[in-house]
Symmetry: C2
Subunit: 119 residues, 2 copies
């Protein structure tokens, strides 16, 4: 089908997947990298930085914007894209929970258990 059956999953799972998915492309990682690395957040600078055509970059920016990760502000003729502080922190929180649960659990699944049993 190609269409995700989102209604079967929890809201958290869908939200998190949406945020994560928005970052799941090297071009979009590169955009965030750029925003983290420089003072500039002018669309034109991002287009120049990336090895992709302007419409393609515009599309990637749109996806990041749709996910809420960045927001665009008109600044005269140009548009300035910045990371959305609220969403970014929410995202960070989600992921922290994820990794913390793992650390607390100690990953003693079958394979590990088998190894121990065999000793």
């Amino acid at each position: 089908m190609g269409a995700t059956k989102t209604h079967h999953f929890t809201e958290r799972q869908n939200e998190l997947a949406t945020l994560i998915k928005a970052l799941g492309h090297p071009a979009r990682i590169a955009i965030i990298d750029y925003l983290l690395k420089t003072e500039s957040c002018i669309c034109g600078d991002i287009v120049n930085e990336l090895p992709l055509a302007q419409p393609t970059v515009s599309q990637h920016l749109k996806e990041l914007k749709n996910a809420g990760i960045i927001k665009g502000n008109v600044e005269g003729n140009a548009i300035c894209y910045c990371i959305d502080d609220d969403v970014w922190h929410k995202f960070k929180g989600h992921l922290n929970g994820f990794f913390q649960t793992y650390d607390l659990k100690k990953n003693n699944c079958c394979f590990t258990n088998v190894k121990h049993k065999d000793l």
Copy 2:
């Protein structure tokens, strides 16, 4: 095209994007959720937990495995999937760097600057 131009990006950007992309689906979040929540990591239990047909779950497991996030161990008739400790920590490190950079930078992009300038 539909084919990502990976060769234009850095190895880190591609690696990170691959890991992130593998998690960018609610079913795959649900799988990891399940592995974090329970002692079981038997494929059949995961299939029962998820609201998707067995072949679909198998495919999602395969993608997580391809990305390296989980690994499967044969255990008699069943297969036990567990989170790969090394890849998981590498992933965590990547993301920590990401979020740390943000925290250090304080996100003073155009919009924020404009607000301050206008005060």
